[in-house]
Subunit: 416 residues, 2 copies
């Protein structure tokens, strides 16, 4: 099956916005065993017509994102109707979707939103629970085309939800993916792509008939195995055996979700005491639905004074060792544990940069602390790490390292 | 001048790599007053031929990235020669470039690198100081085409350097860009795309010769104005006058950066007391370099008990009104202000969902509190909002609303 993607949006061509839709759709289609053969980006407005015209000639399915909004440069619906040679009419189902969306928000629909209720005759309306723009599905052999067409809204959360609910099942039905061939994605943290390449790649390729791919993200590596179930499982086991400490999961859940579930499984509660990550650890954990069962207290002690008042860190320790030190990391973790009454408290104190570094304590240095309650006894540890990667990436990598520590500790404790 | 970009690389279509080349080139060309009219991504290998063929038909210039390497799926040079109908020969200048690169590294050239010394007859060689692959410039009216073609290497640092040194000057010479045409981007929050369309779009288009575009993100809207400086400024002023409360900035900085700078300008400090946003407000603020000057204390009081112990919220208020209430939002803000000693404290308490909602307090309900110190006197406010958009988006929208409140308050206070 030949699939093409068309992304509309002038901002994607002006350099002000990275095209994340292309990569996201590529990954989702890969999960179905499908591959994008061409991706085209065109500005808002009329250019979508020519791009559609070309893609319809050579493809079995085309996915278009964007141009379904209420403004005058949103013309994707019109372009599809024109290229197919079918009429565009006000659709009752589409209208209910638009009206329903504004009802749920308790807001009034504006006249320009009426345009979003238009649909090419014979096409299906795809509901959009997260926005005003319904999507469109044109089945193959409608009008002048033999190509399936999906029109999805531009905002990422709307597009993702609609793809999952409406596009993936239809594509599955349209395609004939080889039985049993599928993709397995394993998530690791703390082991790099080149180590995989040097230490494990040959063995994985030795399985034969297994396609091996990697995707590196900040502090995370996806290992992608494509092949029969038996081969995927064999390759996956090989990778987990090689790096058990680095393994997150094999089911696509986020690290934070994996942590929350491990804590809940172990009946444990968590608190965080953050300096340089500024609340990112707490925020990542509370992204997970149900996290309130395991996460209760978060201390964002950015100023020295906050460390003293909120966590009981000794002024003497701050003066003698400085805020970025093993001693302060330990006192932060211990203070958070005692003041909150949880089972596990983590702490971070470091130099995020770009300012504030010194020869002794350079930008990127961070101390990670952990204090735990085991059989009524409190144990406190700390370790040093170094992430000289710029402020935002530093926060991401440090929060990743802390979540991995919690995951490993929780798993080990469950095995005791 | 009609310009197209073609990016080759299978990784860009499998979802493992974001296409940053497209955005980077878009921005560079914009700086020359030029726009990318279409961007096409194709996998490694033969697909480049068809893409080139199509782009040459309609464009004045085509920029291709990738496919100049030494491996068998690097076929961009071959494709260009074939499409133009000219011969590909070993070029002395190109060979000197390749050999010189390996000399500088003190490494031996491998036989497969010989391929990189091939060049279409009549095309210029573009030196590559950072890699083994020389670039190619095909001037207009060579072979069967009247289009200028640039072939650039895929690695970003090689591509960027070659663009700056070789491509930009040639494009400037080829084009005749109207003096002073440029882009202005204004950021708003709290006013939707459809309101702009209904209330302001006609007036903006009335300026004439001004291109108007929108890009909506969760809780944020970019207004893009392209035209002469005078027209851009006139349109921008019109939009800011229409929605002064919603205006963030006109220079592309993030909302959090704008907030930090406004606080610093006003000599004010900030603390946060977060329940449902779980630290996201603190984390967004501390993404900004230098935020430690204005942000000192963050309280993530996810559990009721944390609200009592960390912020001094009355147990009686929690029992009588519930955690999600005006009273608790006020006590949280006031507690944070008093315990931290800052000038402004913000608080949020709400139902992020998916669980925890009731008829009285549905998922999406949130109370935003603010407590400020003005001339030694403490004033505390709270207001209700409703974002029934799912957990992660809820956090984003609530943190956006809180940051906007801080920005407005800080700006108003500066005007007093």
């Amino acid at each position: 099956m030949r699939i093409e993607v068309i992304n509309t949006g002038s901002e994607l061509l002006l350099g002000s916005t990275l095209n994340t839709h292309g990569a996201w759709l590529g990954q989702q289609l890969m999960n179905l065993g499908l591959r994008v053969q061409r991706l085209t980006v065109v500005p808002d407005g009329d250019a979508i017509r020519d791009a559609l015209d070309e893609s319809l000639k050579t493809s079995d399915a085309v996915i278009v994102t964007g141009g379904l909004g209420p403004t005058s440069d949103d013309v994707t619906r019109e372009a599809v109707a024109e290229v197919l040679g079918v009429e565009l009419i006000e659709d009752e189902h589409a209208l209910r979707c638009v009206v329903g969306f504004f009802d749920r928000l308790g807001k009034d629909m504006t006249p320009s939103n009426m345009k979003q209720a238009l649909n090419p005759v014979g096409a299906d309306v795809l509901p959009n629970p997260h926005g005003s723009a319904p999507g469109v599905y044109v089945p193959p052999r409608l009008g002048s085309s033999s190509c399936a067409i999906f029109l999805l809204p531009g905002p990422p959360h709307e597009m993702h939800a609609m793809y999952d609910a409406e596009v993936a099942p239809r594509l599955k039905a349209l395609t004939d993916v080889p039985e049993g061939d599928g993709v397995k994605m394993l998530k690791f943290s703390g082991v790099g792509e080149s180590r995989f390449q040097d230490e494990l790649d040959t063995a994985l390729h030795g399985i034969g008939g297994l396609e091996v791919g990697y995707c590196a993200r900040p502090g995370e590596l996806d290992l992608r195995l494509i092949g029969s179930e038996e081969k995927r499982e064999r390759g996956g086991a090989m990778a987990v055996d090689a790096y058990p400490e680095a393994f997150i999961n094999a089911d696509g859940r986020s690290l934070e979700q994996t942590v929350v579930e491990a804590l809940e499984f172990g009946g444990l509660t968590l608190a965080s005491a953050e300096s340089c990550t500024g609340g990112m650890i707490a925020s990542r954990i509370t992204d997970v639905s149900g996290s309130s069962k395991v996460f209760t207290h978060g201390y964002v002690t950015y100023a020295d004074d906050a460390k003293v008042v909120m966590l009981g860190v000794a002024e003497d320790s701050l003066g003698r060792y400085g805020a970025v030190s093993e001693e302060v990391a330990r006192e932060m973790a211990r203070g958070a544990l005692e003041r909150s009454g949880v089972d596990i408290a983590v702490s971070v104190t470091g130099v995020a940069g770009p300012g504030g570094g010194s020869a002794d304590k350079p930008v990127g240095l961070v101390w990670l602390g952990m204090s735990v309650r085991e059989d009524g006894e409190v144990k406190t540890f700390a370790e040093k790490r170094f992430y000289p990667n710029g402020r935002v990436l530093f926060k991401q990598l440090v929060s990743q390292a802390v979540l991995m520590k919690v995951l490993r500790y929780t798993r080990e404790r469950a095995c005791k």
